[in-house]
Symmetry: C2
Subunit: 226 residues, 2 copies
């Protein structure tokens, strides 16, 4: 028997549609398109050297993630970020991450917390480097661990469906409040310690506080109401 660790990475076991989804998501969250911009299937297909099939698949996925809006016979348009979006994403995230954390805190054991500590260690060093992109990546990595250990496929799927928008928010936060990079470590360290208690209720309270803090900061951003 060959151990799982050495199975060939299989260059691409995922379909083209999934690849295109990732590429477009990265372009959108990276700000390559203007809000409201019309994404035409044929243009995207030509640009990415694939046919319209995978493009359509990707666009429907991205619609579910809130990155684009699809209007029948009109096409896909880049969503404009509104106060409503910020509120919805944060309240929904709070709801599912509380559930995720209450389950994860009793399942992470030593190995899960070791992963968290590794991320926290990097967060500390970010304070000196101050690369906003690293801060975003580490923030997401930290929370990914919670979702990974909650052992709940459906919660994980919901998280994946809002993760991209959370990325957008984090980048916007770093752009508007560059000083936040300094407090990232302490806030996540606090959350880690709450989880380490192994008490589901304490874990939920920790998440509540954490998400609420993130929401309060973002509310200061000047966004259209809807």
């Amino acid at each position: 028997m060959i151990p799982d660790d050495v199975v060939s990475p299989l260059p691409s076991q995922r379909g083209l549609g999934d690849l295109v989804t990732d590429v477009l998501r990265e372009m959108i969250t990276g700000g390559k398109f203007q809000p409201g911009q019309h994404l035409k299937e044929t243009e995207l297909a030509d640009a990415l050297k694939v046919s319209r099939g995978p493009i359509r698949q990707a666009l429907t996925r991205l619609e579910e993630e809130g990155h684009v809006e699809i209007r029948r016979h009109r096409g896909a348009f880049i969503s404009t970020l509104t106060k409503t979006d910020v509120e919805e994403v944060h309240t929904l995230r709070g709801a599912i991450e509380k559930l995720a954390a209450s389950r994860a805190c009793t399942r992470m054991q030593g190995v899960g917390f070791a992963e968290m500590d590794a991320v926290l260690e990097q967060m500390k060093s970010v304070d000196t480097k101050i690369d906003p992109e690293d801060a975003v990546r580490l923030d997401l990595q930290f929370h990914d661990i919670i979702y990974a250990y909650c052992d709940h496929a459906r919660v994980l799927r919901v998280w994946e469906s809002i993760r991209g928008q959370v990325t957008v928010f984090l980048r916007a936060r770093n752009a508007s409040f560059p000083d936040f990079l300094d407090v990232g470590y302490s806030e996540h360290k606090e959350l880690r310690d709450a989880l380490a208690l192994g008490d589901p209720q304490a874990a939920q309270d920790g998440i509540d506080k954490h998400i609420l803090g993130a929401y309060e900061r973002l509310k200061r951003l000047n966004l259209p109401d809807r």
Copy 2:
């Protein structure tokens, strides 16, 4: 200017893919397929007189709703219901419905509660008729009202993604515990009264109790672990 209330419902503004999704979902939740059955795109396309495009779209949607499992180059297979599925759906539903209820209870005003009371009234009459299918429909209708008034597009989307499986559970419950048809009214009436307090915390507690009760009953079903 014509008020929004009277705009024509637009007979069928939805695409073929959406229609196929609904048809297949109804067939699956209605038990037309055996668990594990292999759904072949070409067969479905021939049977429904459409091409494979809309079929593919429908199958990916149904995968997201947990009704089928898609394995690359193998096709779509009807999901077998497991204890894990029951647990995941109920815990996730609890999380989002608490959020939905806490928002809805302050937004339903008179009109929302009137809708609920109309459903409750029918539930009472069901007790005499005892048509299990009506019981399922009314149960869903009741909760749909909560989601409709919570004014949260993303929560609504998550609900829609698990609503089909909840339907399956309700039907299974009615099949295994036919006597439950009698308590459906009182349980929902209790929940309605909790929402009517207009207190978000009370609303959440009401949902917690309601969902937990549903979960406890379903746990008695004899299902495979995974």
